[in-house]
């Protein structure tokens, strides 16, 4: 019986919203897939697209960015920048042969612990279906 593939997810969560939500999920003892390595950043706008590419290069099967809802950013417009970069990045990685499900952006506020659970569970399920990330070769745009 082949070992089931366990995807590795790198998650960049913003300090003021999503990271607190993940904390809340923890203190609420919510059960969800343990596949995500969470990295705390001060704002989703801190996430340089290079981080995402580097994470994928280092073996991540998926990358998740979590930030505050539009209008709620602690630094006012950081999450909008994250959204713009994310949308262009997703278009680009598709050209490089990476399935769009592997990069994901979610708005999760500090009170939404259950949302963290749902988002990570869904992402892990999607990635299990997709399988490990194939080498980036041989995909015409």
């Amino acid at each position: 019986m082949p070992e089931e593939f366990e995807p590795r997810v790198v998650a960049f969560f913003c300090n003021w919203c999503t990271y607190l939500a993940a904390d809340l999920a923890g203190t609420s003892r919510l059960k969800y897939a343990p596949n995500a390595r969470i990295i705390r950043v001060m704002c989703s706008g801190r996430v340089d697209p290079q981080f995402v590419l580097e994470a994928l290069a280092e073996g991540a099967d998926g990358v998740l960015i979590g930030g505050c809802h539009p209008g709620d950013c602690h630094y006012q417009s950081g999450n909008y920048k994250a959204l713009r970069r994310f949308l262009l990045l997703r278009r680009m990685v598709v050209q490089l042969g990476i399935e769009p499900e592997r990069v994901h952006l979610e708005w999760i506020s500090a009170a939404e612990g259950d949302r963290v659970r749902a988002v990570i569970d869904k992402m892990v399920a999607d990635l299990k279906r997709l399988g490990p990330r194939r080498p980036v070769l041989g995909v015409a745009s």
Binding site: Q50, A57, L89, S141
Partner: protein, 328 residues
Amino acid sequence: MKPKVAFYWCASCGGCEEAVLDLYEDLLAVLDAIEIVFWPVALDFKEHDFAAMPEGSVDIAFVNGAIRTSDQKHMATLLREKAKVVVAFGACAQLGGIPGLANLTTAEEILHDVYGDAATMPQTEYREDGVSLALPELFDQVLPLDRVVPVEYYVPGCPPTPNIIQSAIGALLSGLAPVRGSVLAPDHALCEECPRKATRPVDLAIERLRQVHEQLIDSETCLLAQGVPCLGPATRAGCGTRCIRGNMPCTGCFGPTGRVRDYGGKALSAIASILSADEEQEIGRILEGLPDPAGTLYRYSLPSCSLTRKPEYTHVGRNGKPAESNHH
């Protein structure tokens, strides 16, 4: 004793050679100061002449072009063996260059596209009538020079500009060696030396991106402010902003500045951050004006993209020795 210098080209267009000739009258002074031992475009020394030279007897080897075939890897290795210093000259050697766009496809697809399924597709080995001929193998992907041999310095540009070439040669021959691994060009973004700098708004916000042919381009105003995707903010300076003076946007040929690991990722960030939209649909509409993100943002640097930098994708293992490739 004049320093011995070699110039060689791998998967190259010859533009870097022309760039050296574009030193014009200054070239004569350079030629006086050095002894060129190998330069196929201009001199008749053959490979066996170069191979016969003692190890380490060449002071500097300027190598341009990316690595695409087994032959080019062989020559890069030979140059590394004979030279004390190897300089990756030009965008192809530094980053993979425009031929690196072939990494969006495979060698097999290229061969089939070029030669069809013809019975006479080029072979790496051909034998007939007592004749045996070989052709080099096409690698699965294009590699920058430093993925096959260690490199001391980089001279950026497609091609490098005369001022950059002059100062690089000067620095290397001066006896005061620059920091190993450095790119021999200024380390700030092109915007800082752009003639249109004064017209760039403090809060640059792009409402619409359009391809150049879709609009008239004003010859004095910042190109980004006109909605033209210009990669100046993400690109290393030193070229004299020739393209901008030509009334066309920067396309990134000088590569990243020193603190950037992945040029395409940084260029993406530079453009996306300043779009004037906060809502997904609106952002998507603006991005329609950039229909080919990978081609535009990684035009010169796809082989140096983080995603393809892992050892298992190269023919060189982690210890610098050839690795068994699991892709063919």
